[in-house]
C-alpha cells in the first residue's frame, strides 16, 4: 500500500490563512549534507562558463536536477512531491531557484519585499520552497516573513519602509526543514551573527493545471463549512471557516475582514465551490447584486 503524502484540508486551509506552511526535518541528513555541497557548487558555477547550472525556466519539475543531484533527491522525496502536488499539481514547471548563502557574522540586512512583480488579481498562485539543510538557531540568519501578508497587493519596493511588523517571524529550525511560501508572502533575508554559514535553497514552481482539490480531500466534506457559517450567527466549532478566521497581530479590523474575503475567494478557487463563504461577506454582496440583475 502506498502512502498518500498530499496535504490535508486542514493544512491547506492553514496555508490559505497564513501564506506558508513548514515541515520540520522532512529531508533526511544525508541529502542535507550533500545538499550543502551542491548549493556551494551552484553558487560558484551558476554564472560561470562551465559547471553546475540551474534548470531552464519552464522545465517540467520531473526533468529538473537529474541524478546525481542532492537537490533533485530532495525534490523527489515522496513527502516533498506530495506537498508540491497539493499546491501546484503533479507536473509543475520550474520557474527559478537560488542558493541563499549567509556567511558567518554576515551583517547583510535585506529589506522586506515580495518576489517578482505585482500580481494579476486572480487567485492562482505559485509556491516557493525554502529548504534549510542545516540547523538554524534563533536569530542566526533564518528568513524573516510576515504571516498573512500573501494576499495583499503591493509593489515590492514599497515594503522597504517596514523595519518591523508585529507578529513577524524569523525562521529557526532543525536541519532538513522545508517551508513553503505562497509567492506573495512578504519576506527578507536577515543578518547571520552566528559562527556558521547559513545555506538555503529556494525554488519557485508554477502550476500547469487548475489548482482545484489537488490535496487529499478525504476530510474536506467534514471540515467544509456551509456559506451560512457566520461568527455573529451560527458557526461550526471546527471548520475551514474557523481556520480562515485567523487574525494576525498586525491586522486592523478592516484588514482582517478584507483578508477573510480574499481567503474565501482563494478557497473558492481551491475547492471549485463558488458558493463558499466565511461570515457572509461575499454572499451578502452577491445576493444584493443579483437583485439588480432581476429588475
Amino acid at each position: 500500500m502506498t502512502t498518500d503524502h498530499r496535504l490535508t484540508t486542514r493544512q491547506m486551509a492553514e496555508f490559505v490563512a497564513n501564506g506558508f506552511i513548514r515541515f520540520d526535518a522532512v529531508v533526511p541528513p544525508d541529502i542535507n549534507e550533500r545538499g550543502i555541497e551542491e548549493m556551494r557548487r551552484l553558487e560558484l558555477e551558476r554564472f560561470g562558463p562551465d559547471g553546475l547550472k540551474p534548470p531552464h525556466t519552464g522545465t517540467p519539475l520531473d526533468e529538473c536536477y537529474p541524478a546525481p543531484s542532492a537537490i533533485g533527491d530532495y525534490l523527489r522525496l515522496p513527502q516533498i512531491r506530495g506537498i508540491i502536488e497539493s499546491f501546484v499539481g503533479a507536473n509543475p514547471t520550474f520557474d527559478h531557484d537560488f542558493t541563499h548563502h549567509l556567511t558567518a557574522r554576515s551583517t547583510y540586512l535585506q529589506p522586506l519585499h515580495v518576489d517578482a512583480i505585482t500580481d494579476s488579481p486572480d487567485t492562482t498562485f505559485d509556491v516557493q520552497l525554502f529548504w534549510y539543510p542545516h540547523d538554524v538557531a534563533p536569530g542566526e540568519g533564518g528568513t524573516r516573513f510576515v504571516p498573512g501578508s500573501h494576499l495583499r497587493r503591493v509593489r515590492s519596493s514599497g515594503l522597504d519602509r517596514y523595519q518591523h511588523i508585529l507578529g513577524e517571524q524569523q525562521f529557526a529550525g532543525p536541519a532538513g526543514t522545508v517551508v513553503v511560501f505562497h509567492h506573495g508572502l512578504w519576506h527578507a533575508g536577515q543578518p547571520n551573527p552566528g559562527e556558521g554559514d547559513r545555506w538555503m535553497h529556494k525554488v519557485r514552481l508554477n502550476p500547469t493545471v487548475p489548482q482545484v482539490r489537488l490535496w487529499n480531500t478525504d476530510d474536506l466534506a467534514e471540515l467544509q463549512n456551509p456559506p451560512s457559517d457566520h461568527v455573529f450567527a451560527r458557526m461550526l466549532p471546527d471548520s475551514v471557516a474557523q481556520i480562515l478566521r485567523t487574525m494576525h497581530p498586525w491586522m486592523s479590523i478592516t484588514d482582517y475582514r478584507n483578508e477573510q474575503v480574499q481567503r474565501s475567494g482563494l478557497w473558492r478557487y481551491l475547492t471549485g465551490d463558488d458558493t463558499y463563504d466565511v461570515d457572509h461577506y461575499l454572499t451578502r454582496l452577491e445576493g444584493r447584486a443579483a437583485l439588480l440583475g432581476s429588475q
Partner: protein, 93 residues
C-alpha cells in the same frame, strides 16, 4: 548643531492612540541622540511616543476605497511619522 531622529509607527486604527503594529526608526544623530526603547514595538501607540518627546510630523489621510478595490488590502494603512530634533553640539546626551 541639530540633527533629526525619525520614527514611523503604523497603527491598527486611524487614531493616534490606536495600537502599534509596525515601526521603523532612522537616526540622523548616528547614535548621539536619545535612544528608542528596546521593546517590540518601542511604543504601544502614538501617544506613548509623544510622551517620550517625539513630535508628530504627519499622519496618513483617510481615503475612501476606489470602486472595485473595497476588499483589497495593500500597504499598512495608518501611518504616523514623528521626529525629534536633537542638539548634538555637546556630544552624546
Amino acid at each position: 548643531m541639530e540633527r533629526q531622529q525619525v520614527l514611523y509607527l503604523w497603527a491598527n486604527g486611524s487614531a493616534l492612540d490606536s495600537g502599534t503594529v509596525g515601526w521603523a526608526v532612522h537616526d540622523g544623530t548616528d547614535g548621539e541622540g536619545p535612544v528608542v526603547p528596546d521593546a517590540r514595538p518601542p511604543y504601544a501607540n502614538g501617544v506613548a511616543a509623544l510622551r517620550d518627546g517625539w513630535m508628530l510630523l504627519q499622519s496618513s489621510q483617510l481615503t475612501a476605497p476606489l470602486p472595485g478595490n473595497e476588499h483589497l488590502n495593500d500597504y499598512l494603512e495608518y501611518e504616523f511619522v514623528f521626529e525629534r530634533r536633537v542638539d548634538i553640539s555637546d556630544g552624546p546626551s
